[in-house]
């Protein structure tokens, strides 16, 4: 686990908000919380440590989009999950010139959510067709939209299954 410790140190010295997390429960080893301005520095640090990019995506919450980056390493088991909040206009700096693979992921995120990756040279639609460019299919409906706190893992929260009482309303809602 030397690699993980190493990375942890490097990230801490770079003044990133990084914490170890329970791999058994959430599937990644390190969790990083970024501010909008830190994204590019963080990506550069990741590349310097030899991580590869797994994906870039976004979650639609209030107040704005939470953009998720995941990195992993070829040599050892070390998966890093980073989250950054986009600014109020839904903008966040691109990392596609650092990690070229992020290009398509960012285009896809732009397709689905409308997150604008500033500095991205080519934000044409990728998966959606051109006439659907304004569709933004993954944006949540107002009554489903939740605050970012709701989807944040509670520290020490139990991982047990909560039994569900089947109520009529819920069933219809699910359908």
């Amino acid at each position: 686990m030397s690699l993980m410790k190493n990375t942890l140190d490097i990230l801490k010295s770079g003044s990133f908000d990084v914490a170890e997390s329970d791999y058994k429960k959430c599937g990644y080893h390190l969790e990083v919380k970024l501010t909008e301005s830190q994204v590019r520095d963080f990506a550069q640090a990741m590349l310097d440590c030899g991580f590869y990019i797994d994906f870039v995506s976004a979650v639609h919450v209030t107040p704005c989009f939470q953009v998720v980056y995941q990195f992993a390493h070829f040599d050892e088991a070390c998966r890093i999950n980073a989250k950054a909040m986009a600014n109020a206009q839904g903008e966040i700096p691109t990392i596609c010139d650092i990690y070229h693979g992020a290009n398509w992921h960012e285009r896809e995120t732009h397709d689905f959510y409308g997150v604008v990756f500033t500095g991205h040279a080519d934000l044409r639609t990728l998966l959606l067709s051109e006439e659907d460019a304004d569709l933004k299919p993954l944006l949540k409906h107002a009554d489903k939209l939740v605050n970012v706190e709701t989807i944040t893992r509670k520290s020490g929260g139990d991982a047990e299954m909560k039994p569900v009482k089947k109520t009529k309303e819920e069933q219809t809602a699910a359908e």
Partner: protein, 372 residues
């Protein structure tokens, strides 16, 4: 899918060539816009989305068990690991223990599916290079696997066999006998593939040194699977983040040296043997017991969770965000071919179109998986 291309050609020596969406070498509805200078592809712009179904939206609009069938319909060639990733993700999120026999069955079926997928990939690749015969030999072997899997899962291609807490149905003696017979038979066939294809002078001339991927490129683009291992990096989720019961088995990660098409092809051939080894060990050690934990309807807890599995084409990551209800708040599906294909531009710029076909085929793309 963007109908506009990024190329604004003014050079009169260059012209645009539409490769696809109905082109034999793109294996489905992928379109690649090429800016050609004679037979050289000087600019490459893949256009995706012809088979786009918005799987992630579907995941957000139904309760989590409702998404089972969709998982098998992304990569229709190697659907089992896609099932596996999804059920394992829910299990991880909800903390469900899976009976050991079920895990063994998952490994057996996943590996068989991987062999089937590799066979198709190898066959189709050699077909891209103009040899028609090997794909039919590969289909011959693949048929045995599909028949065996059909008996226990009920489907031949888009499986929906795994359940949260285990598998749908226990395997029987017929299946075990069949699988063992297949292993014995298939061991004898692998040298035949090597004789027919790997040793062929024309094949080597067409693949050696074509489409080289360096470790640095793989890192920047997130290339995984045989595409990565051809470059000499022994990275396999089954070893590095062992899920299910993969840690119980003894197998190697074959790697290439140069990262060219030949290496990627040969890594797949070697992985056939490794998968056979895993299946053999799993059949030997197969424990008794139930195959499905008592099913419960469960709410997904708040917070995020990710799960990565090794599919036939590379790392598949499901990333799920729950908001405490039964419906996933967000499900991101990171598919391997997506990242592998994004390499194409850097890998193939300035290549002959024949080499482009060779390099693209060696990525072993499944387009519906990319489009999701």
């Amino acid at each position: 899918m963007s109908t506009m291309t990024k190329f604004e050609t003014t050079d009169k020596h260059r012209f645009l060539l539409n490769m696809g969406p109905q082109h034999p070498a793109t294996h489905g509805v992928l379109r690649v816009i090429l800016e050609m200078d004679g037979e050289y592809a000087m600019g490459i712009d893949p256009v995706l989305g012809y088979g786009h179904r918005m799987q992630e939206k579907m995941a957000e609009s139904r309760t989590w068990p409702g998404f089972y069938p969709n998982t098998g319909r992304m990569d229709y060639v190697g659907a089992m690991p896609f099932n596996h990733g999804y059920v394992a993700l829910i299990e991880r999120m909800a903390g469900i223990e899976v009976p050991e026999r079920a895990e063994y069955i998952r490994v057996i079926t996943s590996e068989m599916n991987r062999i089937a997928s590799h066979l198709l990939g190898i066959g189709a690749y050699v077909l891209d290079l103009g040899a028609f015969t090997p794909i039919l030999y590969a289909f011959d072997d693949r048929e045995d696997i599909l028949d065996a899997l059909e008996d226990i899962t009920g489907s031949r291609l888009t499986y929906c066999y795994y359940r949260v807490g285990g598998v749908l149905k226990d395997i029987d003696d017929t299946f075990i006998k069949r699988t063992r017979a297949f292993i014995e038979n298939f061991r004898k066939r692998i040298p035949m593939y090597n004789d027919l294809v790997t040793g062929n002078v024309i094949f080597i001339k067409r693949t050696e040194g074509v489409g080289i991927i360096t470790a640095d490129m793989a890192r920047r683009y997130g290339a995984t699977g045989p595409t990565l291992r051809g470059s000499g990096i022994a990275y396999d989720i089954r070893k590095s983040e062992p899920y299910s019961v993969y840690s119980h088995f003894d197998f190697d990660i074959p790697t290439g040296k140069n990262g060219d098409s030949l290496d990627r092809y040969y890594v797949r051939i070697c992985e056939l043997e490794q998968s056979l080894r895993i299946i053999e060990q799993a059949l030997d050690k197969l424990p008794d017991g139930p195959v499905l934990a008592k099913p419960k309807r469960a709410k997904l807890q708040e917070g995020d969770c990710s799960f990565s599995v090794e599919t036939a084409r590379g790392v598949l990551t499901y990333y799920l965000v729950g908001d405490g209800s039964e419906v996933p708040y967000k499900l991101k599906i990171r598919v391997p071919s997506y990242s592998n294909l994004s390499l194409l531009e850097e890998m193939c710029t300035g290549m002959l179109i024949a080499d482009l076909v060779s390099a693209m085929g060696s990525l072993d793309l499944v387009i519906p998986e990319i489009d999701r």
